[in-house]
Symmetry: C2
Subunit: 450 residues, 2 copies
Amino acid sequence: MKQKRYFLSEADLPKQWYNIQADMVNKPMPLLNPATKEPLKAEDLFPIFAKELCKQELNQTDRWIDIPDKVREMYAYYRSTPLVRATGLEKALDTPAHIYFKNESVSPVGSHRLNSALAQAYYCKEEGIKNVTTETGAGQWGTALAYAAKLFGLEAAVYQVKISYEQKPYRRSMMQVFGAQVTPSPSMSTRAGKDILTKNPNYQGSLGTAISEAVELARMTPDCKYTLGSVMSHVTLHQTVIGLEAEKQMEMAEEYPDIVIACFGGGSNFGGISFPFLRHNILDGKNTRFIAAEPSSCPKLTRGKFEYDFGDESGYTPLLPMFTLGHKFAPANIHAGGLRYHGAGVIVSQLLKDGYIEAVDIPQTESFGAGCLFARAEGIIPAPESCHAIAATIREALKCKESGESKTILFNLSGHGLVDMSAYDQYLAGNIRDYDLPDEEIRKSLDASE
Amino acid sequence: MKQKRYFLSEADLPKQWYNIQADMVNKPMPLLNPATKEPLKAEDLFPIFAKELCKQELNQTDRWIDIPDKVREMYAYYRSTPLVRATGLEKALDTPAHIYFKNESVSPVGSHRLNSALAQAYYCKEEGIKNVTTETGAGQWGTALAYAAKLFGLEAAVYQVKISYEQKPYRRSMMQVFGAQVTPSPSMSTRAGKDILTKNPNYQGSLGTAISEAVELARMTPDCKYTLGSVMSHVTLHQTVIGLEAEKQMEMAEEYPDIVIACFGGGSNFGGISFPFLRHNILDGKNTRFIAAEPSSCPKLTRGKFEYDFGDESGYTPLLPMFTLGHKFAPANIHAGGLRYHGAGVIVSQLLKDGYIEAVDIPQTESFGAGCLFARAEGIIPAPESCHAIAATIREALKCKESGESKTILFNLSGHGLVDMSAYDQYLAGNIRDYDLPDEEIRKSLDASE
C-alpha cells in the first residue's frame, strides 16, 4: 500500500499557539516562591526568563496566543512538517489500525525542539538580551537553541548532561558548528556544579543538575536569560503548533485520532501534539485517548507522586505542582537522554490527575526494538526518545489486531536518531539493558527531595 | 528576508527519467570488453547487473524512460524534495546573486542516493534476484541500498571502504539497522581483497577496491547482482529526477539558473541536477554554466586524462572512456568519502571533453569552511561531499559581489552531514588538512594503470 503524506500550504500554517490553560476545568495550581510559599507572579520570573515568556507561563485566560511574524517566518523554513500514514509499519504489524505519525524530525536540527527555541530566542532578542543559556540532555534541545540563537544573533552557552556529552559527541559538535559554547554538566563553573562534584566526583549528570547550572549562570550574568526545552508551560504552548497542524492534516486524511501518543520527558512534545486534540475532548465531547510514553527507568507519571517539587537538582527554581520522582532523583544512564527528567510539567500533571490523559512506561530494550522495526518499515531511524512513542503505538496497534478494531492512532515522531547511532549499535550487539527501579528507591528519592 | 521553499504536488512529480544520451551531439564512446577490446552489448553486462539496468546503460536513443509505478510510489515517500532560496547564505555573503539549493538531504537515508537505490532494487526484485551487493565510501550509497533492499525484500551485502568504515561508524550502524551485512574493504572474503591486502596490509581502501570485491561477490553468487551508486549512466539517469523537479520548481520561483553546481564523485548527483537543464543548452540555445566541484586531492576532471580505463582497482569492469587518474590511484583520506573515486562517468567525461560543462577543484579546508558558513546561515549541516558544491557556489557568489551581477545559482545539496560530525569536530579543532598532489604522482598512477 502506498505511503501517504500530508502537507499544509504556507497560508494554512497556524497563526496562533493554543493555550490549553484557558480551557482546563481545573487550572494548574500556582507555582510557589520556595522561600515565602507565596504564589508566583510573572514579575518574579523576570530575572530568569524573557518577560513575554513569563507572561505566557502564567496565562490562564487567553486561549490563543499570536505567533510573532518573525517566528512564523522561521517556522516556514521547515513547517508544515509532514503527517505520514505509516503503511509500512501497519503492514509489518499486520494490524487493522490506521497509524499516522507527525514527522518533526525534518526540522533543520532534527527534532521538534526548534519550535520553542525559535520563539524563546525571538523574545529574548526583542527584549534586548545578548546571551542565552540552557541545559540539554541528549543534545536535541541544545542544538535547537544553538541554531535559534545564531539566527537571532545571540550568544548561546549550553550545559550538557555529562553522560550525554560523552555518549553523544556528535550533538556536541552540532552545537559547536552552530557556534554555541558547550560545557559538560556538572561542571566546576558554577556553585551548583561544584557542590555536586564535591559530593560525588563521578556523577554523570542529570537534566536537573544542568538546569541548576544554567539558571545560576543566567542569574549571575547581565544581559543573559535562561531558556528551557520542556517542562514549562510556555514551552508546551509553542509546541502546540505540532498538534494544530496535525489537526488540519488529519482532516485532509479524513480521519480523527482515537488515540494520540507521544514520548514523555518534561511534557512539551506530548502536550504539543495532544492539547489541540484534547481541547475537543474538553469542549466538544470527543473521546480521544492520550498516552504519554515514559521510560521505565524514569517513571514519574506512572509511579511518581503529585506534589510540589523543584524543577532542578539544587532547588533554584520555583516550586512546581507536578508528578515527580523527587528533584534529587538520579536517573539511570538510558540513551533517551531527553527523557531523563524527574518531573512532569504542571499542565500535564494536572490533566493526568484529572484523568484526561494516560501514561505507560516502556523498558529501554522494548523501545529500541520498536525503533528498529519502524526504521525497517518506514525508512526513518527514530531518536531513542521517539522510540518510546513508537513502542507504545505498537502495543496499541497489536491490541487492535487482537480485537479486530480499526482504530486511528496518531503519534509524534519527535526526532530522528541519526546522531544516536552508537546507541543502536549497542542495541544490535545485545548491549542495551533495562533498569529495575524498586519502589523503595523511588520512596528514598522522594524523601531526600523533601 | 524570508526563506522560500518550493514543493511540487504529487501529480507534478516526474513520470519519466531524462536520458541525455539521446540528445548528445557526440555520444559517449562505447564501453569495451577488456579481453577483446570489442564494444560491449547489454547482454555482456547481464552477469553483473539486472537486465533492465544494462539496457538503460547503453540506451542512446530514448530521451525519456518511464519510471516504474512502484518506484514512483516509493519516491513519493520523500519527493518532491524542497527547492530552497538560500537567503541566509546570500545575506552572509552580502552578494547580489540569487542562490537556490535543491535539498536532497531530506530523503529517509539523508542523501540523493536513494533515487537510484530504489530503482535498482526494484529491477533486481522484478527479475527474481534475491541478493544485491555493492560498495560504499562514506556510506551514503550503502545506506540507501540497504534501505531499498529491505523495502523490496532483498538481502544486501555492502563492502565499505575501510577508512570510512572506521571514520564513520554511524553509517555502518545505519546500514545494519536497515538489515544489511557490512564488510570493511579490502577484506579477506574475496580474491581481489586478498591480493591487495597481501601487497599492502595497511591499505585503507578505496571505492575502486570495494567495487572489485562487490563485483566478484556478484559473479560468484547465484541470484546475486551488483549495484552501483554512481559512475554508470543508468545511475545518473535515475538521478535526473532531481533536475526535472528543480526545473519545475525554478519555474515556480520565476527564475532560470545561470549556473548549476554539484559536487563530483562519479557524476550521478552532478548529472542528476544538471542534465535536465543542460538539455536546454543543447536543444534550446540556453547558456547555463555547469560546474562540477571535485576535491583537490582527487582531481580527475581538472587534472586527469581522458582515456579508456577500468572502473575498479582490480580490472574486473569493462573499459570505460573517461577522465581518470588511473584505476590504481589511491586517494588521500579526505572526509568526503563519496568523492574518493579515480574516474568520471562516461557521459560527463564526454560532455567535459566537448566543453558543455566545467570543473573546479576544492581544497578540503575550504570545503569545511563553506559547510560551517552554510550551516550557520541555513541551519542544515551539509555532508562533506556537498560542502564542495557549497564552496564552489560561494566562489561564484563572491564573484557576483565583485562584479555587481545578480546571477541565479542553483546547487545540489546532495546530503546532510549529521553522520559526519566527527569530521566537523576535527575541522573546528584545526585538525583538517589539505593534500598536495604533485603532477608526478598523477603521472605515476596513470602509468601504473596502463
